[in-house]
């Protein structure tokens, strides 16, 4: 088999084995309520048999043998030589989790499932597989069309009844449909990623002598393939964190008057043009005092104020902070919370935290449903325009020189009870044109858990920015991530505030 064809089959294996094992796990959970039923055994046999056949075809010999061993265990019940009692069923559950994890390891050893084809729809439809690169080209062409249309709309606006204006309207309608259709092709169900979580969570819990029930909800939501591809890492991190640190041991839970089995929910829902995924545990909550003490000792914070959720996350997400303290106790896999937050920010996604002592912790990831089109706030400096993703923007305030002071050589702005560091776009961009206007707005944004006031000359408005890659001359700062063309046909550069900080 050539490498390319092998990659195709590995991707098929990834999609199909995951979905079969997740379905098998659901069958098993239902079987626990009706252990005398024969149908679940047949269904599970079919699942295992199919996974084994695929694994053997890819020469995943160890995996195929392991599946075969589980199949053999199952056949004892299928042939009536054994009764499916509670103990046997939970051993089988462990086996299924173990297989799911071994599948992931096998996929990873092949370099991942990056070539994953679009999830197949109903069996009856004919399916064409298209690699993402070709779709990206279509998407780029669409971006250029959207920009050209904006210019046409501007020209046509002069006389709304002219034939050109009517043609522009018709073109606009077709373009909207085309945009929806192209975006829809790139959609894939969240289940592809969310289904991988329960086995990993349960397996880790077992290793740590804990017991956890992982509940997934909203996995039928569809998101852009590119968004989906960046989810496994942050989600696995949050899951391991919740099981490792959030959840207590069964004894501790009993003492606290809780069910001995911990509960972890991963719940996805759509909120306007974002997808929100919440990872919630019903564990002990994060110990604010301890984190604050550590942060004080490290000179990160001063004073004795209690930490709010935002401040807590900001500290935990500092490079090296969490990894250096608690997370290292977990199996060596994965990255630190700092990296997770940085990667989410890089694509316009955000992470927030809520934690209640004794009750549990929830991390919430908020993602744009599609990458490539970013809702942005356009600011101006002199004649130049700069767009910043709205995900980071918290509020707009008028710049009041009387509310500033110099603190340790840096300008800070007082906003209600808080002193925010100030970042002047003029200085950042080394702009030496006309003098600034007397009244300037400050865009309060949040990046890496930190709130900062970005000082501009003016705010131009909001746009759906179609991001276009730019040629990068030497020395161009990395926080300039692309360009977009505004309604009036003039360009604006896109700033990634998270990496400015």
């Amino acid at each position: 088999m050539t490498d390319l064809r092998r990659a195709k089959y590995v991707a098929l294996f990834a999609t199909e084995a995951r979905s079969l094992l997740a379905g098998g796990r659901r069958t098993l959970d239902a079987w626990r309520d009706t252990p005398a039923d024969a149908a679940p055994a047949e269904e599970l046999f079919r699942v295992l048999h199919t996974v084994k056949g695929m694994a053997a075809s890819l020469d995943f010999t160890a995996l195929a043998e392991r599946v075969h061993a589980v199949e053999t265990t199952l056949s004892e019940v299928r042939e009536g030589r054994r009764v499916a009692d509670r103990g046997w069923l939970s051993l089988l559950a462990q086996d299924l989790d173990d297989l799911a994890i071994r599948c992931e390891d096998a996929i990873l050893a092949e370099g991942g499932d990056a070539a994953a084809p679009e999830a197949p729809a109903a069996a009856a439809t004919r399916i064409v597989r298209v690699d993402l690169e070709r779709l990206d080209r279509l998407f780029e062409a669409l971006g250029a069309l959207v920009t050209a249309r904006q210019e046409l709309d501007r020209q046509a606006a002069a006389d709304a009844l002219s034939p050109v204006a009517r043609a522009a309207q018709a073109l606009g309608r077709h373009l909207d449909r085309l945009q929806d259709d192209i975006l829809a092709v790139r959609l894939a169900p969240l289940a592809e990623v969310l289904e991988r979580l329960p086995p990993v969570g349960r397996d880790l819990a077992r290793q740590l002598g804990k017991d956890v029930e992982v509940v997934i909800d909203g996995d039928d939501l569809e998101v852009d393939r590119a968004v989906l591809d960046l989810l496994p890492e942050p989600l696995l991190h949050l899951l391991r964190n919740a099981v490792g640190h959030g959840l207590e041991s069964p004894d501790e839970r009993r003492t606290a008057g809780k069910r001995p089995i911990g509960r972890l929910t991963v719940q996805a829902h759509r909120d306007r043009d974002a997808v929100v995924i919440e990872v919630r545990d019903d564990g002990r909550g994060i110990d604010r005092e301890r984190v604050a003490a550590k942060a004080r000792a490290a000179g990160i914070i001063e004073g004795d104020d209690a930490l709010g959720d935002d401040a807590l996350l900001a500290i935990l997400a500092r490079p090296g902070f969490s990894t250096a303290t608690e997370l290292t106790e977990l199996s060596g896999r994965g990255v630190g919370l700092d990296t997770v937050v940085a990667r989410l920010h890089a694509v316009g996604a955000s992470l927030t935290l809520t934690t209640v002592a004794g009750r549990g912790t929830a991390f919430t990831i908020r993602l744009p449903t599609r990458l490539g089109i970013v809702r942005s706030l356009v600011t101006g400096v002199g004649e130049e325009r700069y767009a910043v993703p709205l995900t980071h923007v918290r509020e707009l305030v008028a710049w009041d020189p009387a509310a500033t002071r110099i603190d340790d050589g840096r300008t800070v702005l007082r906003l209600r009870e808080e002193w925010l560091p100030v970042l002047d776009l003029r200085r950042l961009l080394r702009y030496h044109g006309a003098a600034p206007p007397t009244e300037r707005p400050a865009v309060v944004f949040e990046a890496n858990g930190q709130r900062i006031a970005l000082l501009a000359d003016r705010v131009v408005g909001q746009v759906e920015a179609v991001v276009q890659p730019i040629e990068r001359p030497r020395g161009m700062p990395r926080w300039i991530t692309g360009a977009t063309v505004l309604d009036d046909g003039r360009p604006a550069l896109l700033l990634d505030l998270a990496s400015v900080v």
Binding site: Y9, L12, E16, E43, R46, G53, M54, A56, S57, A123
Partner: protein, 121 residues
């Protein structure tokens, strides 16, 4: 004209693999089915020259599908695809009317040989 083959397997992975092997051998894939029931329906609708049939499938297994297809068309040419350790089931399938079998994991040359044999006979 290329001979037309109906592929029956519940796994997309396997259907893709069989389709790749058959296409490389100059055959045409007439259609795919992912359950025994679908295999019977598609056989009637597509009238393929040959059927590759998996044994373990949901909604009517491969062997019952062989019986139903043979009942509809006694001259149907069906090639069983079995896993290791399913000899007993293969024997049952052949008694039901299947012409030959190949064993997973597939070796392209073996599959093409078997297809040629069944179509030639």
């Amino acid at each position: 004209m290329a001979q037309r083959i109906l592929i029956c397997d519940d796994a997309i992975f396997m259907r893709t693999m069989i389709a790749d092997i058959l296409t490389s051998g100059g055959y045409e894939v007439a259609g795919e089915a992912e359950s025994g029931l679908q295999a019977v329906e598609r056989y009637k609708a597509l009238q393929p020259d040959l059927v590759t049939m998996d044994i373990v499938m949901p909604d009517m297994g491969g062997i019952d599908a062989v019986r139903a297809i043979i009942a509809h068309d006694p001259n149907a040419r069906i090639l069983m695809c079995s896993a290791m350790g399913q000899q007993q089931l293969v024997v049952e399938a052949v008694q039901a009317g299947a012409k030959d079998f190949v064993v997973k994991p597939f070796q392209p040359a073996r599959v093409l040989e078997a297809v040629k044999r069944v179509l030639g006979g």
